[in-house]
């Protein structure tokens, strides 16, 4: 059975068709035991644009079985690094070919501007796939000298096996690429659960997986509710590893389920409340620009959003002025409008959540210096909002908001700044702005975050690792480091000369 949605692209005669079944063994199929569907919304219009089959836990079983079969027969150790490289490169080429259409679909379901989706999300995703295609034939073990007479010892870097991958809704295509690329490069097979809010591009990409020539079962896509499909994958006895990007609260559940089931390997990319420190020697104009990027990019829906800024006393007033006038220029609007810098929040639930925090900020006594006013229009639009006069106990300072809401505090000394920055259970990103090189070295050394930006913010590269300290995560994505998350080391001790006497 073939289910296809046809979604009109605003202000054009185009329609994008998307297969809406579950993608298992290179085919789009219905659920084995459920008739539930998931409705997909356009957050700019609040309208339903498509419905997709909602996978049940039985469907997860079917997908895992398909992935296991592929791992045992056509993938895993049965495919060479060359072939994996070739296929991943082919997939990248196809995504490049279809980048305009994929961008429009991403915008329809997620809300971000089309040009951003195409040039950044998809551009980076293509590059990510090509980067890992280049690693596929370079997975080397070591030979290790034990003694030169009796033993040959070496390691093999083997693929872990069947990997469950659960991705979020803030960068649907880009997060898909970050997960899929290193796993495939190393030889793992995948059961991917895209976010129930934004499953459409994952399904569209699955069509390209077939066109690229991947054997059936290597990648499977099962849109599903988190507490159904996500929970099933985390607890599945035949899934060897789970990789998750999303909230810290869900990350805990996944790790717990992994522990209780088969002790599957876990990597987690969780939330953040990332600080930026503005020191007095900083170029304030630049610092303001990077701060604006840090909280407004993707409308603040970024795990590394620089949502807390601490400014040194001596430059505080000046910085606030520059920052407010910089952030004011941000245009939040419909993703199909060329002037839009940031789209709506992805859903009603997120919209309500963010407003809950803005209201809490006001209630707890923080001062609004920009924004904080509701629009009375359709669509989940929230304008950038800046709070000052904060203290460390406020909800808006402690908790991850995931919207364009910034809290600004102040400090006197470097020690105070570092203490304020590190005063969080999170540890994903951090930024510091200073032209004193020694200070940059010292402070970057002391900030408790997986990524520290110096005189910059939120710029990533596919070949530089990314991940969280503390409760922001376990493991690293990107760079050569991601390969380790999908590799299992086997040590081989090959006896070439020892004759054993028993008893010893």
């Amino acid at each position: 059975m073939v289910y296809t949605a046809k979604i009109p692209v605003p202000a054009s005669n185009k329609e994008i068709s998307v297969s809406t079944g579950l993608f298992i063994n290179n085919e789009f199929v219905s659920s084995v035991d459920s008739s539930e569907v998931i409705q997909c919304f356009n957050p700019a219009t609040e309208e339903v644009i498509a419905s997709v089959v909602a996978g049940s836990s039985k469907d997860i079983d079917v997908a895992v079985a398909a992935a296991r079969q592929a791992f045992k027969t056509t993938w895993g150790k049965n495919v060479t690094g060359w072939e994996r490289s070739r296929l991943i490169n082919k997939l990248a080429d196809l995504i490049e070919r279809d980048s305009q259409e994929l961008a429009e679909l991403e915008t329809l379901n997620n809300g971000k501007p089309v040009a951003v989706a195409r040039d950044f999300d998809i551009g980076d995703s293509i590059q990510c796939l090509r980067y890992y295609a280049g690693w596929a034939d370079k997975i080397t073990g070591q030979t290790i000298e034990v003694d030169n007479k009796n033993k040959m010892a070496f390691t093999r870097h083997e693929p872990i096996g069947v990997c469950g991958q659960i991705i979020p809704w803030n960068y649907p295509i880009n997060m898909w690429a970050w997960k899929v690329a290193p796993a495939l490069a190393v030889g793992c097979t995948i059961v991917m659960k895209p976010s129930e809010l934004t499953p459409l591009t994952a399904l569209k990409l699955s069509e390209l997986v077939v066109e690229a020539g991947f054997p059936p079962g290597v990648i499977n896509t099962v849109p599903s509710l988190g507490n159904v499909g996500g929970a099933a994958l985390s607890a599945h006895l035949d899934v060897d590893k789970i990789a998750f990007t999303g909230s810290t609260i869900t990350g805990r559940k996944i790790m717990e389920a992994a522990a209780k089931s088969n002790l599957k390997k876990v990597s987690l990319e969780l939330g953040g409340k990332s600080p930026q420190l503005i020191f007095e020697s900083a170029d304030l104009q630049q610092a303001a620009a990077w701060t604006a990027l840090g909280i407004c990019y993707n409308t603040g829906q970024d795990c590394t959003a620089g949502s807390r800024v601490y400014v040194q006393d001596s430059v505080y007033d000046k910085f606030i002025d520059v920052l407010v006038s910089t952030v004011k220029e941000t245009v939040i609007g419909n993703g199909f409008d060329k002037n839009t810098g940031g789209g709506p929040l992805v859903s009603k639930a997120q919209f309500d959540r963010v407003w809950g925090y803005i209201d809490a900020g006001k209630a707890e006594g923080a001062k609004v210096v920009l924004g904080g006013e509701r629009r009375n229009t359709k669509g989940y639009f929230v304008d950038p909002t800046i709070f000052t006069d904060i203290n460390s106990e406020m909800k808006i300072v402690k908790e991850e908001i995931f919207g364009p809401v910034l809290s600004i505090g102040r400090f006197k000394t470097e020690e105070e700044a570092i203490a304020l920055a590190n005063n969080t259970t999170y540890g994903l990103g951090a930024g510091l702005h200073s032209t004193d090189a020694s200070q940059c070295m010292r402070v970057s050394g002391l900030l408790e975050a997986g990524t520290v930006w110096v005189n910059q913010y939120n710029m990533l590269s596919n070949n530089v690792p990314f991940g969280g300290k503390k409760q922001s995560g376990i493991g690293r994505e990107l760079g050569s480091y991601a390969l380790e998350e999908y590799t299992s080391i086997k040590a081989v001790h090959w006896n070439i000369g020892e004759k054993l006497q028993w008893p010893l």
């Binding site: 060359w82 280049g134 690693w135 034939d137 070295m441 010292r442 050569s480 070439i496």
Partner: protein
């Protein structure tokens, strides 16, 4: 004006056309040599001239080096990120794939290897090699070393600069890809001298390099003679490194020139007289097939040829009978026939050389067990040849013949054969055949060679390093190891607090 070579292939195995500029490729343009002289390119199947190509002189080396330096300072080197270099190399691989049959046909025409071998191995492996190194281009990592909190200490793996690359005639396109891949992946600019015997695929490649979008000056090709262009490259004061594949004799000259000029970094891939040791407990039929591949592949014109075949006495007679049968079955014929296994040797000079070795074998008292003569009357074809009843001091046992001439030596004692196998100034490759894995591996570990094949011979992969011990060479090609040949390590130590 640099001329265009046009050729129509109308053969049993391939029909197609080629047409390309036969000039030197300098700074993104095809040009005549400074002296406007040319080199005749000969078809070894017939001995006749195929075409003339522009000849480079010492002056052209200077021009090319200047163009390479300019590119290194502006459009290549560290001015282009690894991801971009990766893209260009991937594009080149794709173009090679589109033109694979044409390249294979050119290679067969110019070198004499069969079209089938040129397709299945030479061009396929060349494409894989470029693709493999495209993947490395954005993965050139240095390290960060922890010293103390007041210092940031790290290494950068920077491109060396302008590198000279001199490649041989036995696998022209493949050797070009082995050199281009790692050098371009790491950001170097290249001045390359192909062999004057086999320049055609190298020249055609430059059109593809241009089409792929490499900036002018990143790759420069100078077809010329060893004692002019090759020597000029080796002793050039502005070339930072030279990489050479060829004879040990010329390798010495290059190293000497490097020492006498600017102490440029060198890597050398030289000759071999590789032993192939076949124990009593070998799978004899497999050993026969691999041994044949070991010595007859590419008409014996492989640096890693398993040219000394040691066979343990228990299976000697059976092996020799089967090996002779196998060798006799190999069809020597036109490279473009449907079923030829072996074409002509690459040139008159090589033909004469191999025949001289065969003559010396006869004169020194070895037995010609098979072959030992010319095949046909036109072109440089030599029949697969087997010598037996040799002694270790014979020329055919000591020296690299580089032809389809195998020496089969009986042995009894394991210790003795390992000693004999290692008793050579060469150390490029080796092979062991035994079904006893312990014996096979321990022997492999004891052989003094850069590659030890166990139950196989002459198998190469883009990701497995290759190079010589002893007088077979300096440095390793292929794999991650090749990257070291083309990077210079800079340690950067940033003081962030130590007061002097």
């Amino acid at each position: 004006m640099a001329s265009i070579f046009t050729h129509e292939f109308n053969t049993p195995i391939y029909k197609g056309k080629t047409s390309f500029n036969t000039g030197l490729y300098i700074d993104g343009k095809f040009v005549d040599g400074s002296d406007k002289t040319t080199i005749d390119v000969i078809n070894p199947s017939t001995g006749k001239v195929i075409t003339k190509v522009a000849e480079a002189t010492v002056k052209d080396v200077d021009i090319a080096v200047a163009a390479a330096h300019k590119a290194f300072e502006t459009t290549w080197g560290l001015n282009m990120g690894g991801a971009e270099r990766s893209k260009l190399l991937s594009k080149l691989a794709r173009l090679m794939e589109e033109h694979q049959q044409e390249l294979a046909a050119l290679e067969a025409l110019d070198n004499g290897k069969t079209f089938n071998w040129a397709m299945d191995v030479d061009t396929t492996f060349a494409i894989d090699t470029i693709r493999y190194y495209a993947g490395w281009a954005d993965k050139i990592h240095g390290q960060v070393q922890e010293t103390d909190e007041k210092k940031l200490s790290y290494t950068r793996h920077e491109p060396i600069g302008v590198v000279g690359q001199i490649i041989p005639w036995n696998f022209p396109l493949l050797m070009m890809s082995w050199k281009l891949g790692p050098a371009l992946a790491t950001g170097n600019c290249i001045v390359m001298k192909p062999s004057e015997f086999t320049p055609l695929t190298a020249i055609r490649m430059c059109e593809l390099i241009h089409q792929a979008g490499f900036p002018p000056g990143a790759v420069n090709l100078l077809t010329g003679y060893g004692n002019t262009v090759g020597a000029a490259i080796s002793s050039h004061m502005k070339i930072d490194k030279v990489a050479f594949t060829g004879s040990t004799l010329v390798g010495r000259k290059i190293m000497e020139a490097a020492a006498k000029s600017n102490l440029k970094n060198i890597t050398l891939e030289l000759g071999g007289k590789s032993p192939n040791i076949i124990f009593n407990d070998a799978d004899i039929d497999q050993a026969v097939n691999w041994a044949a591949h070991g010595i007859y592949w590419n008409h014996g014109q492989a640096c890693s040829a398993g040219s000394r075949i040691f066979v343990q006495s228990g299976i000697y007679d059976e092996f020799l009978a089967k090996f002779t049968e196998k060798s006799r079955s190999l069809k020597v014929g036109d490279p473009f026939d449907l079923d030829s296994y072996q074409g002509p040797q690459v040139s008159k000079i090589q033909y004469d050389r191999v025949m001289e070795f065969i003559q010396s074998g006869k004169e020194q008292g070895a037995t010609v067990h098979l072959g030992g003569d010319r095949n046909g009357t036109e072109g440089y074809y030599i029949n697969p040849t087997i010598f037996t009843d040799t002694t270790p001091d014979m020329k055919i046992v000591q020296e690299e013949i580089f032809g389809p001439v195998g020496v089969v030596i009986k042995f009894e004692d394991e210790e003795d054969v390992i000693r004999q196998a290692n008793d050579t100034v060469f150390g490029l490759a080796s092979a062991v055949f035994s079904q006893n894995i312990t014996r096979a591996i321990t022997t492999a570990h004891r052989l003094k060679a850069g590659t030890a094949w166990v139950n196989c011979v002459n198998q190469l992969h883009a990701n497995v390093p290759f190079g010589g011990f002893k007088q077979s060479g300096i440095g390793r090609e292929l794999g991650e190891y090749a990257l070291h040949n083309y990077t210079a390590v800079k340690s950067v130590q940033v003081n962030l607090g130590h007061i002097m």
